[in-house]
């Protein structure tokens, strides 16, 4: 049905129109419509999708592109559209040109296409489109970062193309369904050897690892996330990184059985899943440690986003149904709280124009609503019980420990501790402490941005208190009663979590504490500046604060590890290859006709030797 076509291509169309009619009012309206339509249609199609997946085939250039809206693709598409809508509202406030709208909505189409496509050509085409569009958003502001991002993701994309080619050569098919059957049959046939399966697995892993930001390939994330329009980054890190994670699921669906047959198990876990779990764990730990030590608000959230996607990778790596459930739930919660964080950053940067912690501080009074939204995001990311973040993290804990992966579970503990640390650092750095004099006249963020934040804040609360709603749908995806319990309780074989009861307990506690507070005498309101200066106001040179390198002790504790950085390694590699290219050019094309004729003679010699011998 052409609903899928509408879902897929309205954003692109709207983007092109917005770029064409580049006037203040018109551009925003078209953009908003473009971003809202997919969500609307997805909701409309929800009942249809529950019974039977909706299919649609399109023949282009000799290839047949098949699209299918099944339960899983509906889930991912819904998450992406939700964040996309919030992004659109954010863009209304932060972007001034049709250029941003065009490429933001083009990447929106790319992501939706990736989730919905059922054959490799469509998948690869829309994957490249998504990468290209997000690259163009970054290219506008910073060439170096954008090139680093593009090179890495193009290497990933081309690794995937190579893998597609090999699969096509072996199975003769391009669409997922036939490849799946072929690979299952192939286990007995054995046409694809062990070496080749490993090659295919590594190729796919690099392709999806780059987009998800797994550790060795995460180098592009901080630069790319911070060097673009911040409200677009909400979509960039909220939805685009999910494409990488969706890819990992694809590996399971397509090659799971084949990989199991070829690579066997290790300590009772699927070997290839174990590898993914460990990549996830390392990503969580490394990214969180780096996030804690960042000085720039955008870099902090970029590394934190990489870390959180590491959680999802880890959950999928566990391989048990509960692991998939935890991972899928975390896809949703990461999208909403990370999207919210980026919108909060967008508001801060829009109003103060500063991005480093040392220049900010004491904004809580000036931007109360944004602060409240920031607090909700903080609670959700840190995994404080009443929030959605906790529910998904709880599921991942359950899965990891149940699947007897202790060290990986240990990594989650460390990761969530660090998450708590860098989130509070954000709170202190931006909202509290003494306010620098230049920020006196900061006003609250404009209405569309606030609206965008509420769109993402509400799900945090709703799914926090009633996680059953999401796990109910996830059970339908995984076709089995993986996570028991009703709307408010999550019940697994080994543990329960009654979200409603925990929230009510917190409310009771707050009530009691409130009573104790009111019982005491009335508190006199004193301005924040009247503290350690015994009365006289805190002047500029006495504005003591440790906003700058807040975690210096931790940096000292870790300085052994901080010497090595993947980023510097890649930069040196790039420079090396460019020098090699230069040397090759100077050597070969040295401008002397004689040496050129020597090349001809050499080719003749080769032909002669081949002929003679």
């Amino acid at each position: 049905m052409n609903e899928i076509l509408i879902i897929l291509f309205t954003p692109l169309l709207a983007g092109v129109l917005a770029w064409a009619f580049d006037f203040r009012g018109v551009r925003e309206v078209i953009g908003l419509i473009g971003a809202a339509v997919p969500l609307a249609y997805l909701v409309k199609l929800y009942p249809a999708v529950i019974e039977k997946p909706v299919d649609y085939a399109l023949t282009v250039g000799g290839f047949t592109l098949q699209f299918q809206l099944g339960t899983m693709s509906w889930y991912f598409a819904a998450v992406a559209s939700l964040v996309g809508l919030a992004m659109a509202f954010g863009l209304v406030a932060t972007s001034r040109s049709g250029y941003d709208w065009l490429f933001a909505l083009m990447s929106f189409t790319g992501v939706l296409g990736v989730f919905l496509s059922q054959d490799f050509i469509g998948f690869f085409l829309l994957w490249e489109l998504m990468t290209f569009a997000s690259f163009m958003m970054v290219l506008k502001r910073n060439r170096h970062e954008s090139l680093k991002y593009f090179v890495l993701s193009v290497i990933g994309a081309y690794a995937m193309l190579l893998a597609i080619g090999i699969l096509y050569a072996r199975t003769g098919a391009l669409d997922f369904e036939t490849i799946r059957q072929a690979l299952i049959i192939d286990v007995s046939l054995g046409t694809i050897g062990k070496g080749e399966t490993i090659l295919l697995f590594t190729l796919f892993l690099t392709a999806f690892g780059v987009k998800a930001g797994a550790v060795p390939l995460h180098v592009w994330a901080p630069g790319a996330y911070s060097e673009t329009d911040q409200s677009y980054t909400a979509f960039f890190s909220g939805a685009l990184s999910k494409a990488g994670v969706y890819g990992i699921l694809l590996i399971y669906m397509l090659m799971g059985y084949k990989l199991y047959a070829e690579l066997g198990t290790f300590h009772g876990h699927l070997t290839f899943a174990y590898v993914i779990a460990w990549i996830g764990a390392i990503t969580v730990v490394v990214a969180s440690f780096l996030a804690v030590l960042q000085e720039d608000i955008r870099k902090l959230f970029a590394y934190s986003s990489v870390g959180q996607v590491g959680y999802i990778l880890l959950a999928f790596g566990v391989g048990s149904p509960l692991g998939f459930a935890g991972g899928l739930f975390h896809v949703l919660s990461h999208a909403i709280f990370k999207g919210l964080f980026w919108l909060v950053t967008a508001a801060i940067i829009l109003q103060t124009g500063r991005t480093r912690f040392r220049d900010m501080g004491g904004l809580a009074e000036k931007m109360p609503f944004t602060f409240a939204m920031g607090l909700i995001a903080v609670l959700s990311l840190a995994g404080i019980p009443p929030m959605a973040g906790f529910a998904s993290k709880w599921l991942i804990y359950e899965a990891a420990i149940q699947a007897h992966m202790p060290l990986v579970a240990g990594a989650i503990f460390l990761g969530s501790g660090l998450a708590f640390a860098y989130v509070v650092r954000f709170l202190y750095g931006v909202w509290f402490g003494q306010r620098p004099s230049e920020l006196e006249d900061v006003k609250e963020a404009p209405l569309p941005l606030l609206l965008a934040m509420t769109i993402l804040a509400i799900p945090n609360l709703v799914f926090g208190v009633a996680p059953g709603v999401v796990t109910g749908y996830i059970n339908r995806i995984l076709m089995g009663d993986v996570v028991g319990g009703d709307y408010y309780r999550l019940v697994t074989q080994t543990g329960t979590y009654n979200a409603l009861l925990v929230s009510t307990a917190l409310v009771i506690g707050l009530a009691i504490a409130g009573l104790v507070y009111l019982y005491g005498a009335k508190a006199r309101r004193v301005p924040v500046t009247d503290t350690y200066q015994s009365g006289n106001p805190v002047t500029e040179e006495f504005n003591l604060s440790i906003r700058r390198n807040f975690y210096r002790p931790l940096a000292e504790a870790l300085e052994f590890w901080l010497r090595y950085s993947w980023d510097r390694f890649y930069e040196r590699l790039a420079k090396l290859s460019e020098d090699f290219a230069d040397a090759l050019r100077q050597a070969f094309y040295n401008g002397n006709v004689q040496s050129y004729s020597w090349y001809l003679a050499i080719v003749l010699l080769i032909l002669a030797l081949w002929g003679v011998l």
């Binding site: 829309l126 290219l139 060439r143 090179v151 193309l161 080619g165 090759l584 050019r585 050129y596 080719v603």
Partner: protein, 495 residues
């Protein structure tokens, strides 16, 4: 109007070339407009031939002098030749219009003659059905190319032309030795008959003959070690001529290589030659891409990128499978459109801002937004971004490559195209987001052509089915030699 009138394709440019000295009196503008009119006429004829061939589905066999092959020379205008003669004509028309404005260097009448004869040479090479005739048309193209490369009469132009001449000279001599050997052992020069008799050739002669022919044509088709002349020739030639070089002169060489390669399928050592060609093609792609990485001159950069894409076409054609040849032909069409767009744009900027160094392109978006937009579309297409035309053919080539078992070759090409993405995107960044300048007036005709080509790139990108069906028919025209032999009405000749 029976098929024989297709010979007008050859007669018209020749007639008009000889006519130029007589109308020297019309002055410079007159000759330039005359040139445009003739190329338009040629496009008309080519379109008529194209429609004729593709509607009836049967190739047109033009028999010179009324003699049936192999006695006389025949022009075999099959699906491929019809498509490409049309491309040659259209690109020549665009370049003619462009050179009306851009060509300032003096003896314009001689320029017009050489221009027409270059077009004639390429059309002849694509259409001919006789290997010695192919040699003659190759020489026509080559010598007019030597003259046109040196046309600017600057030191660099002369140097580039010298390089092209010496390497081209060696290449064509060895090609002729190959032809001599083939003729010596088979007694015939007609391609169809060679294909028939190739099986029972003496293996050593076949091996040497085939190797030499492929070597001679490879110099023309710019494969790795032999393409050292190409970047200099592209850079030093006048801007209009570089467009013709990259759009169809190279393609004619590539087509000839592919045609002769697949004709000699029956030869014993055929597969080894294929492997050698695949290796050379992959090396071409890799070395050309790496060489383009730190270029100071944009025209030379795009020349390198054109050479690497040509290497990719050669890779596809040398795979030895039907899918490979179809993909190669499809890429030929796309490459012709994109490179014509890029070189026209760069040439236009080169003349308007004096010189094609990278500095002139800084902030082009502010100075000449229309050209910058066209160049951006061209570069994005060249990189292989989806929704542009090269993406489709690149994907097809790579899949055909893996299917033919050259996984390593495909991996190297992919690595090279990452490098290509880097320098093209640096180019785009330089144009739009660096440097500054105030808006300049842009000529109507040329902007129109640029936008038309850019639109063509996007249309093929979004809806590639039509062009792909053409490419498939053209591909089978080359690959399916049995059909080729049946189409040519061979007389029973000889003892």
């Amino acid at each position: 109007m029976n098929g024989q009138y297709a010979s007008l394709l050859i007669a018209l440019p020749l007639l008009s070339a000889f006519f130029v000295p007589l109308i020297k009196g019309l002055g410079e503008r007159g000759i330039k407009y005359y040139l445009a009119v003739i190329t338009a006429l040629q496009t008309g004829i080519a379109a008529w031939v194209f429609q004729q061939v593709y509607s009836t589905g049967k190739p047109i066999i033009v028999m010179a002098g009324g003699w049936k092959p192999p006695v006389g020379i025949n022009l075999y205008i099959g699906h491929f030749a019809a498509l490409f003669v049309l491309i040659v004509a259209v690109v020549s028309f665009f370049t003619a219009v462009f050179s009306i404005w851009s060509m300032k260097v003096q003896p314009i009448d001689k320029y017009a003659m050489l221009f027409l004869l270059l077009m004639l040479g390429a059309t002849g090479m694509i259409a001919t059905g006789d290997i010695f005739n192919l040699f003659v048309f190759m020489e026509i193209t080559a010598i007019s190319a030597y003259a046109l490369t040196a046309y600017n009469k600057t030191g660099e132009a002369a140097e580039a032309s010298l390089k092209y001449m010496i390497l081209g000279g060696i290449g064509s001599s060895f090609f002729l030795i190959g032809v001599a050997l083939i003729y010596g052992s088979l007694g015939t020069l007609n391609m169809a008959q060679i294909a028939q008799l190739a099986g029972n050739m003496n293996p050593t002669v076949a091996q040497v003959g085939l190797a030499l022919i492929v070597f001679g044509l490879a110099v023309e088709a710019e494969l790795f070690p032999l393409n050292a002349w190409a970047p200099d020739a592209y850079q030093a030639a006048p801007h209009a001529i570089t467009v013709m070089f990259s759009a169809f002169v190279v393609k004619a060489g590539l087509y000839a290589t592919a045609r002769l390669l697949y004709l000699m399928q029956a030869v014993g050592s055929w597969h080894d030659v294929l492997k050698l060609l695949v290796a050379m093609a992959t090396l071409t792609v890799v070395v050309a891409e790496f060489a383009a990485l730190r270029q100071k001159d944009v025209k030379r950069m795009i020349a390198y990128s054109s050479i690497s894409q040509v290497g990719m076409i050669a890779f596809a054609l040398a795979l030895g499978s039907q899918a490979g040849v179809d993909a190669g032909v499809f890429h030929m069409v796309n490459h012709a459109v994109v490179k014509a767009l890029l070189f026209l744009g760069v040439g236009y900027v080169g003349i308007k801002l004096g010189g094609t160094a990278m500095e002139n392109f800084q902030g082009l978006g502010k100075r000449m937004p229309l050209t910058a937009f066209a160049l951006t579309i061209g570069s994005l297409a060249a990189v292989g971004i989806p929704l542009f035309n090269i993406f489709w053919s690149k994907v097809r080539i790579l899949i055909a490559g893996v299917e033919a078992g050259y996984t390593w070759g495909v991996a190297l090409i992919l690595g090279a195209s990452v490098v290509e993405a880097v320098y093209y995107l640096r180019f785009i960044h330089a144009m739009w987001f660096a440097g500054e300048g105030e808006r300049m007036r842009e000529g109507l005709a040329i902007s129109l052509i640029l936008l038309l080509l850019a639109a063509l790139v996007i249309v093929i990108g979004i809806y590639p089915d039509y062009i792909w069906s053409l490419a498939q028919k053209a591909g089978s025209d080359i690959f399916n030699v049995g059909q080729y032999i049946k189409n040519v009405p061979l007389m029973e000749v000889g003892a």
